[in-house]
Amino acid sequence: MTQTITIDPVTRLEGHGKITIQLDNQGQVEDAHFHVTQVRGFERFSQGRPFYEMPSLMARICGICPVSHLIASAKACEAIMSVRIPHTAAQLRRMLNLAQMVQSHALSFFYLASPDLLLGMESDPAARHVFGVVAAKPELGLAGIGLRRFGQHIIELLGNKRIHPGWVVPGGVTEPLDPAKRDEILASIPEAFANIRLALAAYKQIADRFKPEIEIFANFPSNYMSLINEDESIEFTDGALRMIDPQGAVLDDGITASRFSEVIGEAVEPYSYTKFAYYKPLGYPAGSYRVGPLARLNIVKSMGTALAEKELAEFKQLAAGPVQSSFHYHHARLIEILYGIEKIEQILTDPLILDKHVRASAGVNRLEGAGQAEAPRGTLMHHYRVDENGLITWANLVIATGQNNNAMNKGVLQAAREYVKDGKFTEGTLNRVEAVIRTFDPCLSCSTHAFGQMPLVLSLLSADGAVVDQVVR
């Protein structure tokens, strides 16, 4: 008798998702899927809106990383306007993007993942949350809260609002940086450094305990993609994309936003509202790839800041060639936080950072435009078409979670095969399956897209969970 194990909802994620694990007659795992179960419709309802409204509209997709959407969207709009934004505006946006990366990574690591890592995968689920972490390891819990506050406070200082700041606009930003705000950010940097040092040291101490999980958590060779600078250092806001193969060889390089859709395709599977991105020359699913912190650190050759550079060298020691286990996303995330703090400090010492010229203006000079940036979770691409008055006629968003979708599904199957044997499982083993998804820190709310008439699967389950009948639309 076949059986389906459903984990619904998957907890400690951003958005709504579920996992189903199908067992065969012998109770062995036959297949497993990660489903994103909601639909949003941003690409549809933005049609007819003026393009210059898009950044603020698109930022509403998510309260965790509105900044990434603001930046990718503003860049797409700037492609339509055909303008190059002032240097100071570019630097301020870079700082905003890094602040958001720091706060989002802090959220992912400390609030969502650390309960598993610090309290144990099998620990009491009733206390396996951030409050449990604060109770058990107060200094680490507070470091996490401190890092998140650091990032959020910079966003608030720059954009006047912690969530959905309206400061980023097509052409640059609306207001220059106030010297008092610069000084306030600079003053908060030493504490942020202390917090991330503490977290990195603690992580390295416990990482060895998770050797079995490292082996199982989406540990397989894959392609990787991320933004990179011309000098092969890490980049979150500008630069161009590079795709590498599982051995680390460059498959494609210099992928600008305008080339993105030539290179990246999107496949649709009936069980999820999230699309499956793939590298077109390799086809689907062979061209699937991973994005995000792991991909970025696998691709870049340097961080460009002193402390993070050392950490990168250590990270690269984890494997010969690209680091393949998704468990190491956690480690990569902490290194990126360190980089983010260092880089913010660097940006604030830019002699032009207080310059008043922060916005370029132009009308519609092209009818199509695309913009890309690195969101905390990975590459984000916004692509718009407009009419001659600048009203949106078509929009497409390619989200990090869609690009990691294939790897997440493979990871769930890999973990389910390891942890569910002979139809037997415990809460702790299922938590490990969920924890695979958590390594990717997916943002489900921004990943959902409807493609035509979505297929609907209706399953009739008997009392013991067996599938009695199924109807597919």
Partner: protein, 237 residues
């Protein structure tokens, strides 16, 4: 022959006030710091009584009357904030919000919108009516300004300022009832209309329906205060 200017004595909310003959209840109330909410009224423009937010009760009349176009008479007893009136104002605002697509969070007028402020003043937190969610157009054909019909409440301030102050009469209203919409010229795109690009309509629009493209993302306060001065200067000539 115009009516001779005389002094009228009346009561507003039990308070004895004096007024000049021919004044509206709204004018007299404001002179005496009695607040009556308004939306379509604007100092410097003619009144049309379109929004009905300034409805007041007058003793002896079963009908509620708009304070902006009702003139005072001797011995009049006016109530401006009865429970019945508050209920109606609440309902009018709910109807305005439910009729088109007012999404404050992404609106250029957020924080500077008269509709939003009124809703806050009236303690409106939820809309009990189903939203109509109509599919309305945005006209961005003019270089500097945009009209988003989703945010228009048909107060006709733009129509009046264009006709009465600018003297261009580019704006007008088309259609009936729920299908009414403001138009430029004979429903031509704003960009190819006879608009003088003066921008007065943008400054008097109480919501984000008419806005300056360059202000998207930044604060977009509007400055309708210029109207009384403009009128004063013209009268002095």
């Amino acid at each position: 022959m115009s009516e001779p200017v005389g002094v009228k004595t009346l009561q507003i909310n039990g308070e004895e006030v004096s007024a000049r003959s021919g004044q509206t209840i709204l004018e007299v109330a404001r002179e005496h710091d009695i607040d009556i909410p308004t939306l379509c009224h604007l100092e410097g423009l003619s009144d049309v009584g379109a929004c009905r937010l300034c409805l007041v009760e007058i003793k002896g009349s079963n009908k509620l009357l708009p304070a902006c176009v009702t003139t005072v008479f001797e011995g009049m007893e006016v109530s401006t904030h009865t429970e019945r009136l508050q209920k109606h104002r609440h309902m009018i605002l709910e109807l305005l919000f439910a009729e088109r697509n007012h999404v404050c969070s992404v609106c250029v007028a957020n924080g500077h919108c008269e509709l939003q402020s009124l809703a806050q003043d009236q303690g409106l937190t939820h809309i009990s009516l189903p939203y109509r969610n109509p599919e309305l157009t945005v006209d961005a054909s003019l270089e500097r300004f945009t009209v988003d019909h989703n945010r228009c409440i048909l107060c006709t301030r733009c129509v009046r300022v264009c006709a009465e102050i600018e003297g261009a009469h580019v704006w007008d209203v088309m259609g009936r009832g729920i299908n009414s919409t403001v138009i430029t010229d004979l429903n031509d795109p704003w960009g190819s209309s006879s608009c003088t690009r003066c921008g007065k309509c943008v400054q008097v629009c109480p919501t984000g329906a008419l806005f300056d493209k360059s202000k998207v993302g930044s604060d977009h306060p509007k400055y309708p205060d210029f109207l009384p001065y403009l009128n004063l200067m013209r009268e002095a000539r």
